[in-house]
Amino acid sequence: MARVVVDVVLKPEILDPQGQAIVGALGRLGIHGVADVRQGKHFELDVDDSVDDQTVVKLADTLLANPVIENFTIRRD
């Protein structure tokens, strides 16, 4: 079994209200040097040999991410 990591983030032009909430909370922690936060998702997949790179791209593009509003990166560990 191999491990594949897919990270999904909102496209830069899409508003991220959760990220804004986090910036506000950081301020209340007394940390003021953080200009912006974007919150994304991190998926770890345990896959067998039948799941090639093309398949991972397909499942990332179809299910894990919504390509209308999100970008993703794939990494094989």
């Binding site: 899409i14 508003l15 209200p17």
Partner: protein
């Protein structure tokens, strides 16, 4: 249609009955649409909104039939979570994201019905202003400029928020339709405005009246 986590399926069925139609319960795991003349994908939190709202419902067994039927002209109305499912299914363009104000908004909303030529809005006057409840946390409609301009130019904006944008939807868009006009996605809840006792108005009833008595 009932998915695991659907909330407003029964109210939608009730609205259909109040409009004089026969409400046929559809089940996410049953691929058959049982010869219905139209499908309502209701509001709620299908699959707990896991991953993204509507992202998992899109792959329910029944959705293959809904998608095929929609492509063939079957009227499909997606309300709130149903709108999210339609966008995830690519039956409608764009996507719904978290409300810009980070609040779950639950209130009566003034809307303008801008397209009364869809299968679900033919019972409205063009530019009719209506009061229909909204309740959403991820109701912000977004799409790239090209898509939005196309929707506007083709008259595919079905409803627009008036007197305040409750969730940051681009151009205050509350609902859209596909090019053929049989698939409509709407963030507000017309099924909650179908009788005086239980709603702010009966302004939601024409969504269901538009289809009653019409065969597929």
């Amino acid at each position: 249609m009932t998915f695991p986590g659907s909330l407003d399926d029964r109210d939608a069925a009730r609205a259909i009955r109040i409009a004089g139609g026969e409400a046929v319960p559809l089940w996410h795991a049953d691929p058959s649409l049982h010869d219905v003349d139209g499908v309502v994908l209701p509001g709620g939190f299908s699959y707990g909104d896991y991953l993204r709202c509507g992202a998992i419902a899109r792959f329910a067994p029944v959705m293959q039939s809904v998608i095929a039927g929609a492509r063939d002209g079957l009227p499909v109305l997606g309300i709130c979570n149903g709108f999210q499912v339609l966008c995830e299914s690519h039956l409608l363009p764009g996507a719904l994201i978290r409300n810009d104000n980070r609040k779950f908004v639950c209130r009566e909303q003034l809307l303008r019905i801008e397209n009364n030529r869809t299968r679900w809005t033919s019972d409205y006057d063009e530019a009719q202003e209506v009061i229909i409840p909204i309740k959403n946390g991820e109701g912000g409609f977004v799409a790239d400029d090209r898509t939005i301009d196309e929707l506007e130019a083709e008259g595919r904006v079905v409803a627009r928020y008036l007197e305040g944008n409750p969730n940051g939807s681009y151009r205050a868009i509350a609902g859209i339709c596909n090019a053929e006009g049989n698939v409509v996605g709407l963030m507000p809840h017309p099924e909650h405005a179908v009788e005086q006792l239980t709603g702010p108005s009966v302004d939601g009833l024409p969504f269901f009246l538009s289809l009653i008595g019409v065969t597929a």
